[in-house]
Symmetry: C2
Subunit: 368 residues, 2 copies
């Protein structure tokens, strides 16, 4: 973490210290990825980062080996699970640092009502402000290393999708294709599969279909939306295929989606408001007489799957260099759902598409 990025938070927010508890921001500020923090949310991990002194990391003693190996924070305080109260420990450290009358930035959209209530009682003279949005904006600008990890993750994911579609044929079921993608994703370096929504025929229209024993037939549209985790960073891509030769209606429906996709991506550059990408989708679909169904046309991603900016009509963020965007469109036609999602890095002068390891401008043809 570059500490000058955090400095902007203290300056603009007027905070004497920032406290984070969410897995996303704990990883961001500490460098440690604590698996159990996601699986067992009541096993708290807390970073206290004062404006003018060194940070403190409060963790469950079980995680101490991992945290000391992964985090640059040296003041680590372990609590014994069930015996010690980590929120009480946090209040004690805040007092120890002389900040008990300070202004503390908190993730008010994450911290539970219970924990917030306890903190207010333990520190009656402190004031608390929500700094969620500011942390989101700091995370939105990626470092060079983060951009490299995310781009490599996108490439691996795109290749895994292609491997899955190449393994498909009529008579094979959704589970088979999903399993090929899954194992291919791990072979290409994923540490975790975050989600794999894949559906064929009547299932492709379900927003998040779990692959099942439904068998492919000639003429089916098949759609996948898949994400993995690579060194703590997400990938997230969607691609559409057809079993055998597409009908001209299928080709047209996908072609319209692709053309609008290209119009949206073309507009990506610094100083463009994020919501403008949504407007380009909307007018592109309207111009073609297609129904507007999407509340957003993509999102940033990083340690979190959906990060700011969201590419939606009410987003007030302006695109900046080193943001990483997922541009994502769906189009429903004649009971089929067509879906494409690409990863685009905002550069100093425009953008770079990093997720296309092959030509997806036409429907992928599954052998029949």
């Amino acid at each position: 973490l570059e500490s000058n990025r955090l400095a902007s938070l203290f300056d603009k927010g007027g905070y004497d210290a920032v406290v984070v508890l969410s897995p996303v921001n704990v990883t961001f500020l500490s460098g440690a990825r604590i698996l159990t923090q996601r699986l067992i949310p009541e096993r708290l991990a807390i970073v206290l980062w004062p404006a003018t002194s060194a940070p403190t990391f409060i963790i469950c003693s079980i995680e101490e080996t991992l945290v000391r190996a992964e985090s640059a924070i040296s003041d680590i305080r372990g609590y014994v699970e069930f015996k010690d109260a980590p929120v009480k420990m946090l209040a004690d450290v805040i007092a120890e640092k002389g900040l008990q009358r300070g202004r503390i930035g908190l993730e008010k959209s994450y911290i539970s009502a219970d924990h917030f209530g306890q903190l207010c009682q333990l520190l009656p003279e402190a004031t608390f402000g929500g700094c969620d949005r500011q942390l989101d904006l700091i995370r939105a600008i990626k470092s060079k290393e983060e951009i490299e990890i995310l781009a490599a993750a996108a490439v691996a994911t795109d290749e895994a999708i292609a491997a899955g579609y190449q393994s498909a044929k009529p008579g094979r079921d959704e589970r088979f294709v999903a399993e090929t993608m899954r194992s291919s994703l791990f072979q290409r370096g994923a540490d975790e599969l975050a989600f794999l929504c894949l559906g064929a025929g009547a299932h492709c229209i379900e927003a998040h279909h779990t692959p099942c024993s439904y068998q492919l037939e000639a003429g089916h549209i098949m759609r996948v939306d898949i994400g993995g985790s690579f060194s703590g960073y997400y990938s997230d891509l969607a691609r559409t295929a057809v079993v055998g030769k597409p009908t001209s209606a299928q080709e047209q429906a996908y072609g319209a989606l692709w053309d609008v996709m290209e119009e949206v991506i073309d507009a990506v550059k610094p100083t463009v408001p994020a919501r403008q990408l949504y407007q380009i989708y909307k007018s592109g679909f309207e111009k073609r007489g297609l129904p507007i169904r999407m509340p957003h046309v993509g999102h940033s991603l990083g340690i979190k799957l959906h990060e700011k900016p969201m590419l939606m009509p009410y987003e007030d963020t302006v695109l900046q260099a080193n943001m990483v965007l997922e541009i994502e469109l769906v189009h429903v036609d004649a009971g089929n759902l067509y879906h494409n999602e690409d990863q685009v890095v905002v550069t100093d002068t425009g953008h770079k598409i990093v997720s296309r390891t092959r030509d997806w401008s036409r429907l992928f043809r599954i052998a029949s």
Copy 2:
């Protein structure tokens, strides 16, 4: 969901309605598993369950197809993401049901400080109580169907571990063994891999090691702690192996762990306080002169990975028939960590171990 189980909550808690937002309790009360609720927590899904009228399910419109297919709740209200405010919608439905002066049960350990603050403002005459613990206790007693899913998940997971160890040999790395377990788990019906911590040699002592390119050598201890998700329910087992012939010190260390494991499991039956299982571990280790390092010796599981009761010294729950427990012990000796975790169902008269598809009473021997 058997509605008489929920009735106890209204009676004892004195609630006019219960509101849940956590993925776990939303799935429990609605029957729907909304993937994006876990991946994108800000995309709220809310169940409002009044004591004397039908429940309402507030969801993002994107999820409507899935929710209508999976949930028995018929009053479904979809909100348009970013445009509509789901917490405002909740307050409106509470008022519509005439409960704006009522006593509302909430998950105060889950709902964010922001959302709780909004709800208090929108419903100034309502009172709010935390019903987290009561929901935990209701979920702790499993139905026949839940017990069957969990037992089948444990069997599949145990077989996947054995398949992984059978694929191991000196020169292969942790990733190879992990990949065998992973694909084997999916072949046996898992919908998701929740976690896979696997380490050999110097890595086995790390609490949650991510499998890497570290190669197996004769004499290494290898340890796995793996969990999958099957039809929305977790599995969670841990097993230990040795590469080649174990030393007598390794055999002894594992033997001591196993013996105490058996003592703990033997004690499982209705009316036993959950914390007593911890005491049996503690005195078993003390008697053998082994260090006490674990804050708990297991947990229940279900829709959530760690459910109540926790098998820890401060747990005040008494075991009851149809609880499902993970009994889990670790022992560190000479730099190696030995770990075993089994699934045990509490029966009317005692217990049943459901996770052993082979004899694990001695270290699994990996071919060398």
